[in-house]
């Protein structure tokens, strides 16, 4: 809760408490409701769902906060008392919820419990970004680390981020490589690194399906089809041999590689090998669907005589002529071999960042090394540093210096810095006095909380400097900083890590749609799907739009490939652009191919999987998994006719054991049935027409994606907003949201409601909430 909202809350609490304090009437009225409607199942004997409410003393809500938060959630969502059981009228229900909510909130305001995130090892994304920001080395270093375990749906949960001997081994090895690249190491021996285009594996029975190796991205020009581009960090100013091997993988390479030797400046460059589009022609073995055919004819004219282009940072440096007559063989891999004839460490952003001083003579070296290391340690440890911090690093410098030059000494110190526990772990200290129950985190700790929340990285100089002056916790400053951070391109990490996991878009990288069921799926489409959602989500954050727009926006971002997939005409080229949508079905997340693909099995759609996804991730009501050993459906064949999917599902729901969950799940999933397993619109599933109508247990009816979105954004709005808020809080804190956080969740919702839950407002409200700004002291 920000200071603002805290002061706004006080009079509110007083208003609620005053009458309650005088007469216990509301508490006893609430008790009466519990006794009359709830205890019938939740008594000391039956303990339905493990809960008893019998004899619960509602005059001391705080003693039962955990239990009552569960009660509140169920009652407010209208799930309890369950359908078919007697329940009070709507007005009394609402009154009960309201009373319970304000009592819990007042109790939390009087005795806040901000929780206590565990010590947090940097995860892969955070490690990558920290290396990028501390050393100006943008090489996605974390991709060399094992995938982190996750909990509560995110991989930045301190409790789950463990450190094994294997991981420490990896850190040691990686820190050597990073330090070598960042400083530049003239002793580096030449080696060849080989990159392969991504291919669709597992073709198996579908032997006639061609290998999908095409790739178009922002690094390649419009007119390229196939080929690949590679971001590569050249370690020294030197010559490098670039080889493009062509042919089919695992077949004897009979084609001589294209090869060129180039002088390159040290640092990050993009090497692209592309076929100009005119050099390709249709692959005859490819199964051609109507859409696919439109795509091919628009994208791929007949072959001509051009060969292959080699590009460095987008500029063609060499055009290789064609050496064959038919369809040119695909790129098998691209190798970068070097450095040869190195001329120096070069002039890289990393070196500029590291070497904040240059010793003119040997006598100045120690002092300069100390400056460099103190500055790096401050950035890496994310706090002010002292002699105890830089002195051990200096001794690594000195032993390195004894074996090489000044730069080599710094390189050795960086190796050590990057495995220091102060770098790898985020640790928050308790105040020295043990008696305090809660404390505000220090400004310096707040800087890290913010930067890891919004950037998945270390704080920058601005944040650190403000924190060191204890200005960051000032509400105005905090608001400015949150805005600044979200304006910074580094906030893309928030989109890719928060949205990527919340919406599960990250799984796009590993989905394998069946090449027979979905012949038009290829790497270009995979990339485009992901990009659309990233750009869309980013626009909601950047423009501070309502999170309800996530459901109902009337625009999206498309390139030609995706526009064809959606059947939207007039979009040309591989660049994404904002497109206004006229079809109410397509707008919002639920119309995006990324989401529709990750919620589908490889070869079909799944009504249940999509419905469950909505309940889990949009409404915060995860249904339990089905019991094991679900009996077979009695009549999958009714007479001679095979049942339609809907008929089969209805038969399934006739079983009361199944119906209890599936009546919530299935209607949501059916509403999206017009989208196939990769998000293409369809009106029929095989022979049967799609029926996308649905009815929820509470009687709400809707039809198709547009109808579903409307229901979610209106009737189920509070559940949706609460879910997004809880996910944000989980991700922001790096711990699970507990019952004692719910008052903070509700405060955030109240605070952001007047402006329709704009995304930045929500982020700021999270960043100024009790659990974000405070911490429970040790061992309470």
């Amino acid at each position: 809760m920000s200071l603002l909202s805290r002061s706004a809350l006080l009079p509110l609490c007083a208003l609620i408490w005053a009458p309650l304090g005088r007469a216990q009437a509301p508490a006893s009225a609430a008790s009466a409701i519990l006794t009359q409607y709830c205890v019938v199942c939740h008594d000391n004997q039956k303990r339905t769902a493990g809960i008893t409410l019998q004899g619960l003393d509602l005059s001391s809500v705080g003693d039962h906060a955990e239990l009552l938060e569960r009660v509140l959630r169920k009652v407010a969502a209208g799930q309890m008392p369950p359908a078919g059981m007697p329940r009070p009228n709507a007005a009394r229900m609402a009154e009960f919820s309201k009373w319970l909510e304000s009592s819990l909130d007042a109790e939390a305001a009087a005795h806040p419990n901000p929780g206590r995130p565990a010590i947090h090892r940097l995860n892969r994304a955070e490690y990558s970004n920290a290396i990028r920001d501390i050393l100006a080395l943008d090489i996605n270093a974390g991709s060399q680390l094992p995938v982190d375990d996750s909990g509560y749906g995110f991989d930045n949960i301190g409790d789950v981020l463990s450190l094994s001997p294997a991981l420490l081994d990896r850190y040691l090895s990686l820190s050597r490589r990073i330090a070598r690249l960042a400083v530049g190491d003239p002793t580096l021996k030449p080696a060849e690194e080989v990159f392969e285009p991504r291919r669709e594996p597992n073709r198996g029975v579908a032997a006639a399906v061609p290998i999908r190796a095409e790739w178009m991205g922002d690094d390649l020009p419009f007119d390229s089809a196939g080929g690949l581009s590679v971001r590569y960090y050249f370690p020294l100013d030197a010559e490098y041999v670039i080889r493009v091997r062509r042919g089919i993988l695992n077949t004897p390479a009979k084609i001589a590689p294209f090869e060129v030797r180039l002088p390159m400046k040290a640092g990050l460059h993009i090497i692209g090998a592309t076929f100009p589009k005119e050099s390709l022609k249709l692959e005859s073995v490819e199964p051609v669907t109507a859409r696919r055919s439109a795509y091919l004819s628009s994208e791929r004219p007949e072959a001509s005589s051009a060969g292959m282009d080699l590009r460095v940072d987008g500029v063609r440096v060499k055009r290789f002529p064609r050496t064959d007559n038919g369809v040119p063989p695909p790129v098998m891999n691209l190798g970068i071999d070097g450095p040869y004839n190195a001329t120096g460490r070069g002039d890289t952003p990393s070196r500029a960042k590291i070497f904040v001083c240059r010793p003119a003579e040997r006598a100045q070296e120690n002092q300069c090394a100390q400056r460099i290391l103190a500055s790096l340690a401050r950035a890496a440890y994310r706090r002010p540093v002292n002699e105890a911090d830089w002195k051990p690093l200096l001794s690594f410098y000195q032993s390195g210096r004894a074996k090489g030059d000044f730069d080599h000494g710094i390189q050795k110190a960086i190796e050590a810095l990057l495995v220091a526990p102060d770098f790898l772990f985020r640790v928050e200290a308790d105040p020295p006095t043990g008696a305090v129950r809660n404390h505000r985190v220090s400004d310096v700790e707040l800087a890290s909380r913010l930067s890891f929340f919004l950037w998945s990285s270390v704080p920058d100089e601005t944040l650190l400097a403000l924190a060191e002056k204890s200005k960051l916790s000032n509400p105005q400053v905090l608001a400015q900083q949150v805005d600044r951070m979200l304006d910074d391109p580094k906030s893309f990490a928030f989109v890719s890590n928060f949205a990527g996991q919340w919406l599960q878009i990250r799984n796009l990288a590993t989905v394998r749609p069946d090449p027979i069921a979905f012949a038009e799926f290829d790497e270009s489409l995979r990339y485009s799907m992901q990009r659309e959602t990233e750009l869309f989500f980013g626009s909601i954050v950047r423009e501070n739009r309502s999170i309800l727009d996530l459901l109902g926006a009337d625009y999206t971002f498309l390139n030609e490939r995706l526009a064809i997939h959606y059947g939207i005409p007039g979009i040309y080229g591989s660049q994404f652009r904002r497109v206004a949508l006229t079809d109410a079905n397509r707008g919002g997340l639920l119309g995006q191919a990324s989401l529709l693909t990750v919620t589908s099995p490889p070869n079909r759609t799944s009504v249940v999987q999509r419905g469950k996804w909505i309940l889990d991730n949009l409404l915060g009501e995860p249904p339990p998994p089905p019991p094991a050993d679900v009996p077979a459906l009695d009549a999958t064949i009714k007479g001679a006719r095979k049942l339609t999917l809907r008929e089969a599902m209805e038969l399934h729901r006739a079983n009361p054991g199944c119906a209890v969950c599936h009546r919530n799940i299935d209607p949501l999933g059916f509403a999206l049935e017009n989208y196939d397993g990769i998000g293409e619109w369809r009106s029929k599933d095989g022979e049967s027409a799609i029926d996308a109508s649905g009815k929820l247990p509470d009687g709400t009816q809707f039809n198709g994606p547009a109808g579903l979105k409307k229901v979610l954004a209106t009737g189920r709005r509070d559940e949706f907003v609460s879910t997004v808020t809880e996910k944000l809080l989980t991700y922001g804190l790096g711990r699970g949201v507990e019952y004692y956080d719910m008052p903070a969740v509700r405060a955030i919702m109240r605070e952001t409601e007047p402006n329709q839950y704009r995304f930045r407002d929500l982020i700021l409200a999270v960043a100024s909430s009790v659990p974000f700004e405070m911490r429970r002291s040790a061992d309470q």
Binding site: R170, R176, P421, P626, A628
Partner: protein, 451 residues
């Protein structure tokens, strides 16, 4: 084949597509494997634990007949050539995977209980808890003489997003190896990373520089320890667990460096190309990991390895054997014959990979016999019927002679609900790691050596 012009003599020629690399100077890397063991009285026993998720269809797995007169079911047919080295054990259960009031989550509990015999705590994150796993008990003892206590390998990377099993952290389904009750060992799926961990990351090309690098690592570890000590003073007791993990990891690597320095006796290292990134297809990937297992055993870099052929609950599709739907989807077959057949295809495909490993070990000389003679591989799943989430009558096979202490070519049936952990402590015992109890074990498992 690509070879850089310089340093030809020190560079390994790659058949694959990986980086041309400088192999560490081999002599420096060959350890205890040398002289003493060759003529020794008792061969060193290697342990392997190979896990497959989602149960195995019993109609395909269960052998016909018992004792020495049995016939493999269709799923196990790929092991026919190694029948005499294979012991099929029926009737064992891992009932710590049952819910006991914890509700859904049988996959998470299955994975976390397989080698621990402990009912895992239901949590998404806070206070993760299972028990030490059998491989880690072995690693603590056998790891005293090898550079690596154990390796934890896998073929399927953890999921990038989304929950794993209702209410359980993904740590429970991602690994079967637990260093202690609160520290799961992450699984490494990248063959190149495994190779570099075993043989160095290619920075060094000779013994001298590799040893120099190790000395540098030692002083970095000293520095790190100092940092941990300083941090610890700031923390309450509850927060120290993570740092304890870090200290344990440091000690582990220090010990490894020490071993590597001691064991600089020279013997030729088995040649293997440094692998490129993981192949996308299942079988080549699994086989590459198995090649690494063999090379690690053979050069005695470790004696204990776990390999998860997929994560518990995996929904990978195996199109190469004609199954487009996901594995987990198939196992909830609801008696649909098509899904049952699909699951059986996957089950058999997994056993084919086991057969690849067994064959390779059989063809690898080791002391007075073969690597297979001196090894003990446990293969199985922690569920039997994936459709019903059954935790008893598990599919269990033990392959390898374990230095003459296991007699294969038999199918043994034990009383229903015999704890799998009884087998685990017997396996530990046969590897020279005396363990009185582990998890829910009630005693040693009889008849492994003879009838």
């Amino acid at each position: 084949m690509i070879v850089t012009k310089k340093h030809l003599q020190r560079r390994l020629f790659l058949r694959g597509l990986g980086t041309t690399l400088a192999l560490p100077f081999l002599d420096a890397m060959v350890p205890a494997f040398a002289a003493p063991r060759l003529g020794a009285t008792k061969p060193v026993v290697r342990m392997g634990f190979l896990y497959v998720p989602n149960g195995i269809i019993s109609a395909g797995w269960s052998p016909l007949g018992e004792g020495a007169n049995f016939e493999f079911g269709s799923t196990m047919k790929p092991l026919d050539p190694f029948r005499e080295h294979t012991l099929v054990l029926s009737g064992l259960g891992q009932i710590q995977g049952r819910s006991y009031g914890d509700g859904p989550g049988d996959h998470a509990r299955a994975g976390a209980s397989w080698l621990t015999g402990v009912h895992p705590k239901k949590t998404e994150g806070a206070d993760l808890r299972a028990g030490i796993s059998a491989d880690q008990v072995a690693a603590r003892a056998l790891g005293q003489v090898t550079q690596f206590g154990s390796l934890e390998l896998g073929v399927e990377a953890p999921s990038l997003a989304g929950g794993c099993d209702s209410g359980y952290s993904c740590a429970y389904t991602n690994t079967i190896s637990w260093r202690n009750p609160t520290s799961p060992n992450p699984v490494e799926v990248n063959p190149r990373v495994v190779f570099e961990r075993l043989f160095g990351d290619g920075d060094s090309t000779d013994q001298k520089s590799r040893l120099a690098q190790m000395q540098e690592e030692s002083s970095i570890l000293d520095f790190v320890k100092g940092g941990v000590d300083r941090l610890e003073t700031k923390l309450g007791t509850g927060d120290r667990r993570k740092l304890t993990e870090y200290l344990d990891a440091i000690r582990d690597i220090e010990r490894r460096i020490q071993k590597a320095e001691q064991q600089s006796a020279s013997a030729p290292l088995p040649a293997m190309d440094r692998p490129a990134a993981a192949p996308e297809e299942f079988a080549p990937h699994a086989q590459l990991m198995m090649d690494l297992m063999v090379i690690a055993y053979q050069s005695d870099l470790t004696r204990v390895i776990t390999l998860m052929l997929a994560r518990e609950g995996s929904n990978r599709s195996y199109r190469e054997v004609g199954v487009a739907d996901g594995h987990h989807n198939c196992t909830h077959h609801q008696d649909d014959p098509v899904k049952i057949a699909s699951t059986m295809k996957i089950n058999t495909h997994h056993v084919e990979q086991l057969a690849y490993l067994v064959n390779k070990m059989k063809n690898t000389p080791d002391g007075d016999g073969t690597l297979l003679d001196h090894s003990m591989l446990l293969y199985g799943s922690s569920l039997s019927d994936g459709n019903k989430h059954t935790h008893v009558d598990l599919p269990v096979a033990v392959v390898g002679g374990a230095g003459g202490t296991v007699k294969g070519g038999r199918h043994l049936r034990y009383p229903e609900n015999t704890p799998l952990n009884n087998l685990l402590i017997s396996m530990l015992d046969k590897s020279g790691v005396r363990t009185d109890a582990l998890g829910d074990s009630t005693g040693e498992l009889a008849h492994l050596t003879d009838m």
